[in-house]
Amino acid sequence: MRKIALIAASALALAACGGGSADDPEAGSGDSLSGEITVFAAASLTESFGNLGKAFEAENPGTTVTLSFGPSSGLAEQINSGAPADVFASASTKNMDQVVESGSAADPVTFANNTMEIAVPADNPAKITSLEDLAKKDVKVVLCAEDVPCGVSAREVFKNAGIDVTPVSNEVDVKSTLSKITLGEADAGLVYVTDVKSAGEEVSGVEIPADVNASTAYPIATLEESKNADLAKAFVDYVLSDAGAAELETAGFAKP
């Protein structure tokens, strides 16, 4: 299964390298694919997967990709409870493992990495320029809660850098963390690069040195319960293709 996927992916990649137009690559997939699939994807993928879904539909007329976004943990719980989905794209390997362990999916592939960045309000009131600034006493820092993937990564960054940061709040998720910064309630927060990008002008990012930065892997897999396994596989392949990688890179994701 995995081999086929990889072959398909390389075929796509070749086609893309060859500069061919969107309709000629991957002969065979265009005429045999049809029907619908439902993709469960982590909330941080909202924008990039939204674009990927549309592009995939355009390349494969007659197919419909329904996207459902949410926290990876919640999605994993839903899949294990029998939610009718065909593909799962998780923001953490942990949640993917839960799904694999329960037998709902097999052989997940990492399709992207997300690294951390310091997010500050556009006017940067606390004048944050480095990671060390976050340890200052009067700087209000918000982090994701320790149980949330972005919280795990944030603490890893501080550990790597050897600094001690006491947040004013452990936010329930990354969106909540970000909104505290966009509204100017907090001076800084640690979120994913992609979140800083998607927040637009209200937030600016301060880079974290690569040697202390932490990243989280985004795995994807087709689900065993899928009623349209072929289409599910084709979508996963599309995400893994160069076109997919390019779209993800635009959103700020790093290659795996």
Partner: protein
């Protein structure tokens, strides 16, 4: 014949009412029993002894009670105005007051930030002159809970005030009692059962408040991390533990409601 007459006629429930009523009970009880069935009972004592859980529970109880007190202090006079004032625009005001009932709590939290946050419409001045900003403090939790829960009190008490016997207030006036004294000595005792019922609803709503609190106050153990937020965060890593903690919240609120019911609400009170 005589045996049949022993039961009052109105105790017979017609089936078009009985069937949906039974369905309603099942609908409400099944998820709760699901919770009970999936609770890891053996781990429960250990989970409950967790200082973080106790801290969150304690904070929840304190803030919910404070929010109820604040709702009483502000909401009862508001209910009085809504019930008694005949000024134009009162019905519009009523609609605004009940807005938090339909507003998604997270949106409510954002609205609170925009008003009372460090850069909020009012909050910026408070911050400017005192250096104090509400978010991330326990006060923010109380305000968020009050914002979401107070309408329950206002609606309940307003209803009671509307149906309260105005004649008794008139009688009090002829006996020399001013409007406020009448409110305190006649009206308030008359609506007492509804006041208790409204407070209980408010308290229960405040205890379970999640969205507005998480958005406006954030989450930090001991200051702003209430039980629902703690449960939500635990859900990410240990779903079973979260279920057990939910059960604790359930037991606490059911216990309090039951106690209050026996103490205050036993004589045909509308809740």
């Amino acid at each position: 014949m005589s045996a049949r007459r022993d039961t009052e006629p109105d105790t017979r429930v017609p089936w078009p009412l009985a069937v949906p009523a039974v369905l309603a009970v099942l609908f409400l009880l099944l998820p709760l029993s699901g919770l009970l069935l999936r609770t890891p009972w053996t781990e429960l004592p250990q989970l409950l002894a967790e200082p973080a859980a106790l801290q969150a529970l304690r904070l929840s109880l304190i803030t919910a009670t404070a929010a109820t007190a604040l709702s009483l202090f502000l909401g009862v006079p508001l209910a009085w105005v809504l019930a008694r004032s005949r000024r134009p625009g009162i019905s519009l005001l009523r609609a605004f007051v009940t807005l938090p009932l339909v507003l998604p709590p997270v949106v409510g939290g954002v609205a609170l930030l925009m008003a009372f946050g460090r850069r909020g419409i009012f909050g910026q001045y408070i911050y400017e002159y005192t250096g104090f900003s509400l978010p991330f403090t326990v006060w923010a939790v109380i305000i968020a809970e009050t914002f979401v829960a107070m309408p329950f009190l206002v609606v309940t008490v307003e209803g009671a005030l509307r149906s309260a016997d105005r004649g008794l207030e008139e009688a009090a006036a002829t006996l020399g009692s001013g409007p406020f004294a009448t409110f305190r000595r006649v009206t308030l005792p008359l609506i007492w059962p509804s006041l208790i019922a409204g407070s209980v609803l408010t308290w229960a709503r405040a205890l379970g408040e999640f969205g507005a609190t998480a958005t406006f106050a954030g989450s930090f153990p001991g200051t702003t991390q209430t039980m629902p937020i703690y449960i939500y965060e635990t859900m990410q890593s240990e779903p079973d533990a979260a279920i057990a903690l939910s059960l604790v919240l359930l037991v606490v609120s059911v216990t309090v409601l039951a106690l209050l019911r026996d103490r205050w609400l036993n004589s045909g009170t509308r809740l």
